[in-house]
């Protein structure tokens, strides 16, 4: 085939993917600008948001140009690096604590990033290789167990921080990838029941431990509170349920068309906590209403279906699983983040992809775009 240079480059770029991501970045920037407009440091926050996007272009380009098929041979180093990332906040001199979790990497008191964010991508790549090595037949208890050991290892390290929300993201990524990996419905059902029993047992044991130790050990109380509030938001509307109640008021009061950008009373008057990061969707729902939410969910649908299309277009299972993992990560984060603002999901600190203020997740998500582009651009064969 004879192609011009332009056509060749265009072949390597999934135009819809870039378009949807660009649209989301613009949308997100507008919302961050609105959410931070009433903050004293609003302008510098907006600049930091744009800076995060700029920095994120680097991993995007790097991941795009790396032939993903080569990653499969780096399984050992990737596992080591991923484990290091998850442990790093616990290493004296490197870790930083925020909101009860030691999930930041700091050097000389300069907060760098949350290592668990890029660790998600590394986990996707590792887990894709695990399933691909089983040729997409993860349908026996022994294979499932083997695959889940990778997940369990990662989740264990995350819970050391402890970061419940990110742990849930890892589980979701693994489950979505296992769908493509061939796990059967009965296995999912079994796992769901086992997980429910396990969670109940953990909560019970944790409560017992707290009692024995006389202090809050194991799972932190605020984490348990968040779960409990999710089950019953009326427990204490002024404290643990406050975030949820205020967020619901914000979104609900947005109505069909919203109150207008920058006119959200709930967000501008600081009723919404973390409004530029975890609760950015509450600001969007309040200021742009149902129409604004439909626009966002529409963009996400387009993004996810594009990711699905890239997965199906992959020339090998490994590439398809990487794309599936990225899809699973985004899908779960959208579900969890939007879901928590409307009371469908427990409140966790999971950012909304491309929308939330926060460089760690922005860089990670753009890196994920790079992975998708890497799979897409090599759909006809390596190096082609």
């Amino acid at each position: 085939m004879n192609k011009t240079t332009g056509q060749r480059i265009l072949d390597k770029v999934n135009v819809p993917l870039v378009a949807w991501v660009a649209a989301l970045l613009v949308y997100g920037t507008v919302m961050v600008a609105s959410a931070t407009s009433s903050m004293s440091s609003g302008n510098s926050m907006l600049l930091r948001h744009l800076f995060g996007i700029g920095v994120g272009l680097a991993p995007l380009v790097v991941a795009w140009f790396i032939d993903y098929t080569r990653l499969r041979g780096w399984q050992g180093p990737l596992i080591a690096f991923g484990a290091f990332l998850l442990i790093s906040p616990r290493i004296p001199g490197l870790g930083g604590t925020a909101k009860g979790a030691t999930s930041w990497l700091e050097i000389a008191d300069v907060r760098l990033f949350q290592p668990s964010e890029p660790a998600k991508l590394i986990f996707i790549v590792i887990f894709a290789a695990v399933i691909a090595n089983m040729k997409g037949r993860v349908d026996t208890p022994s294979r499932i167990t083997k695959a889940l050991l990778y997940l369990a290892g990662a989740v264990f390290l995350i819970l050391l921080q402890p970061d419940l929300g990110t742990g849930m993201v890892f589980v979701a990524i693994a489950m979505v990838m296992l769908v493509v990996g061939g796990m059967k419905a009965k296995h999912f059902a079994f796992l769901a029941v086992a997980a429910a029993v396990l969670v109940g047992a953990i909560l019970g044991v944790d409560a017992g431990l707290d009692q024995i130790a006389g202090r809050d050990v194991g799972l932190k109380d605020y984490q348990k509170n968040r779960l409990l509030v999710f089950v019953n938001p009326d427990i204490d509307p002024t404290d643990a349920g406050y975030n949820l109640a205020q967020s619901k008021i914000a979104i609900g009061s947005g109505g069909l068309t919203g109150k207008g950008l920058g006119s959200g009373t709930q967000s501008n008057l600081h009723f919404i906590p973390e409004r530029h990061t975890d609760f950015i969707f509450s600001v969007l729902g309040e200021e742009l209403g149902f129409f604004g939410a439909v626009l966002l969910l529409g963009l996400y649908l387009a993004l996810l279906l594009t990711a699905l299309a890239i997965a199906t277009s992959s020339r090998d299972l490994y590439g398809a699983l990487i794309a599936t993992g990225v899809l699973g990560m985004w899908l779960f984060q959208i579900l969890e983040n939007v879901g928590m603002t409307v009371g469908m999901m427990p409140i966790t600190g999971i950012p909304l992809p491309f929308m939330s203020f926060g460089s760690s997740s922005m860089v990670t998500n753009l890196g994920a775009v790079g992975l998708l582009l890497s799979v897409w651009s090599r759909r006809y064969g390596a190096g082609s």
């Binding site: 061939g182 009061s253 109505g255 069909l256 008057l269 009723f271 309040e286 299972l317």
Partner: protein, 640 residues
């Protein structure tokens, strides 16, 4: 070789379905919240963001009868603590728990408030006391200091990060241009009490922490002075900080009121009362600290001056009185400076009461102007075992009713009282009541005492548990006839008796409000003169009493006081005996006798003799009213 997509088509199909289902679930949820229930959430959001704060209406001013301001308003810099600030709320929440062990320790309080207290020159305990004041609207900032110096204000403003819960605000406070002049009539203001707050009839629309009149005119005319509150709807953020004003309604200021009080007369009256107490001390009555004086316009019942001693400083109540100051004002040793003795204190009227006995006797037909009595100093008509003494132990010799008034001869009135007793009709009590004794005058001031006119029924009731003391005895009427025994009157009541004598027997209803002014200074309500008691005392009998009273000031017990005083004064000295105390000095009078205008009553507790202590005070008050020269009078009169 099949492509990945062909091999795993169904799996990708499942994935696609999951994507659509998840996003659809979110969409349905959003539709429910935003479109179906949007209005309910909107109402919640509105509630959330807008706080209504009431704006106090400027309180009406209180002017004297000539428009001289007695109470006005000024703005003062106040430092307040926001009880809803999280740090403060954390401490407060702990004090509200049952568990007192959980209460903030003084060290914690010092850490929090120590510095600002030092800056304001108060103690941490003072600050905490104000902050924990439960008689305040929960969200209302607690004023911890009023009239803060600009220097302190600057320091607090500079250190806003150290005191994030503190604010400097301008508040309207009462100003008293004449100091504590007429403090008892004017009254003081303070935060509405729980009791008042729950009185929903009078205090409908009030909020906890509102400033209301607590005594005097401030209390009596609260409804007129208060005005209508305005409100301001402000946007607040989640931590309760105000972000801006949404809408507001200006308050309607309270009405100014004009009193019947004449500031100049009031000043002279207070000055003279103080001098009378000083004179008592000079004469050796060193326990004397308290007293009262009332000046009336006899034709209208207008109170031109009314004062009470000891007095208090109404500015102590600005921004809330400290408990230490409040305790000091209510301590037993304080002689209760907050009490307005002119209307609240009931004293034996002593010889000033003899005018009632005289009229009662004449009305009963048992005495007349020239009926003569023989005074030997010792009176034994009730039996030798119950002798009564005239104050002049050597006796007045032969003396008429008129002379009895002039010399204040007790024997004359013992005789009349005994006759009245023997008639058994309680005529003395009836006459007393005709002159308004034993009942409230209905003056427009709170807390008035009715005094007491004792009679057989009262005595029986009063000694319910002491059967041996229940019988009304001749001595009871005899003691009463000279204003002793169980007879009690307020200074205002005695002033009204003399006003009634001067006003052809008609006692006008006393009042301190002259009129209420509208916003343009126009009169919108005037108090019309009203007859309180038409005593029906015949003019000729009033004439007898008047001649006797003129004799008093010209040649009788008060002649030394009124030497050289041109207008004719009808007056009466009184020296009340109170068990366990030095004698109480009275003087009641009206003038000018030919065309009476003013009535005066002055009493000094434990002041000794009316003629030499309160007489000079009454003289100088009348002198001021009638354009005479004020003089320092020192007599050694020992009469009653």
């Amino acid at each position: 070789m099949p492509t990945v997509s062909q091999e795993f088509r169904s799996r990708f199909g499942v994935l696609g379905i999951i994507v659509v289902v998840v996003l659809s679930a979110l969409l349905v949820r959003l539709w429910t919240m935003q479109v179906l229930n949007g209005e309910s959430f909107s109402a919640q959001a509105e509630n959330n963001r807008v706080r209504e704060i009431s704006i106090q209406a400027p309180r009406g001013r209180i002017l004297d009868r000539n428009g001289v301001p007695l109470v006005t308003n000024r703005s003062a810099l106040a430092v307040s603590v926001d009880p809803s600030h999280e740090d403060v709320r954390a401490l407060l929440t702990r004090t509200w728990t049952e568990d007192t062990a959980d209460d903030p320790t003084s060290r914690e309080l010092n850490e929090m408030f120590g510095e600002i207290a030092a800056l304001l020159g108060i103690t941490t305990a003072d600050v905490w006391e104000r902050v924990t004041d439960v008689q305040q609207e929960a969200l209302r900032p607690r004023v911890i200091a009023v009239d803060v110096s600009m220097e302190s204000v600057a320091q607090i403003a500079e250190r806003q990060t150290d005191f994030p819960w503190a604010a400097v605000e301008e508040i309207a406070v009462r100003e008293y241009p004449n100091g504590n002049l007429a403090a008892h009539v004017l009254g003081y203001t303070g935060a509405i009490s729980e009791e008042q707050f729950k009185n929903s009839d009078e205090y409908a629309g009030y909020e906890r922490g509102d400033t209301v009149g607590k005594s005097g005119v401030e209390r009596q005319y609260e409804g007129v002075l208060q005005g209508d509150k305005g409100w301001r709807r402000i946007e607040v953020n989640a931590s309760g900080r105000a972000q801006g004003v949404v809408s507001e309604q200006a308050p309607r200021p309270g009405n100014d009121i004009r009193l019947t009080i004449d500031a100049a007369v009031q000043a002279v009256t207070e000055d003279e009362l103080d001098k009378a107490i000083a004179e008592a001390h000079r004469q050796g009555y060193t326990s004397s600290r308290a007293g009262a004086a009332v000046v009336l316009d006899i034709e209208t019942g207008e109170v031109l001056a009314s004062t009470s001693r000891p007095t208090y400083d109404p500015t102590a109540f600005l921004g809330g009185i400290s408990s230490a100051e409040w305790e000091a004002l209510n301590a037993k040793t304080s002689e209760y400076p907050l009490n307005d003795r002119a209307i609240m204190a009931a004293y034996p009227p002593a010889s000033t009461y003899k005018v009632i006995t005289a009229i009662s006797g004449m009305e009963a037909g048992i005495t007349s102007e020239n009926t003569t009595y023989s005074c030997t100093g010792r009176w034994t008509d009730m039996g030798k075992q119950w002798p009564k003494w005239c104050w002049k132990r050597t006796g007045h010799g032969t003396v008429s009713l008129r002379g009895g008034l002039k010399h204040s001869c007790d024997t004359v009135f013992y005789e009349i009282g005994y006759e009245l007793y023997k008639r058994g009709k309680e005529e003395l009590q009836a006459t007393s009541r005709e002159f308004g004794l034993g009942s409230k005058t209905g003056i427009d001031l709170p807390g008035e005492s009715a005094g007491r006119v004792p009679d057989a029924a009262w005595k029986k009731r009063y000694n319910e548990n002491y059967p041996e003391y229940q019988t009304w005895l001749p001595g009871d009427t005899v003691n009463m006839s000279i204003g002793q025994g169980d007879m009690l009157t307020t200074p205002l009541q005695m002033a009204l008796v003399y006003a009634g004598l001067a006003n052809d027997g008609d006692i006008m209803k006393p009042h301190v409000l002259k009129d209420v002014l509208g916003s343009e200074g126009d009169v919108i309500r005037t108090i019309e003169p009203e007859v309180l008691h038409a005593t029906g005392a015949p003019a000729e009998m009033l004439g007898v009493v008047e001649r006797g009273l003129i004799d008093v000031t010209e040649t009788g017990t008060a002649k030394g006081v009124f030497v050289g005083f041109k207008p004719t004064v009808a007056g009466k000295t009184g020296t009340a005996q109170v068990k366990g105390k030095d004698d109480y000095a009275w003087f009641c009078a009206y003038a000018p006798a030919e065309d009476p205008k003013y009535a005066v009553a002055v009493i000094v507790e434990q002041g000794g003799h009316g003629g030499s202590v309160t007489g000079p005070a009454a003289r100088n008050i009348l002198a001021h009213l009638l354009g005479e020269e004020l003089k320092t009078i020192r007599t050694t009169d020992e009469s009653r």
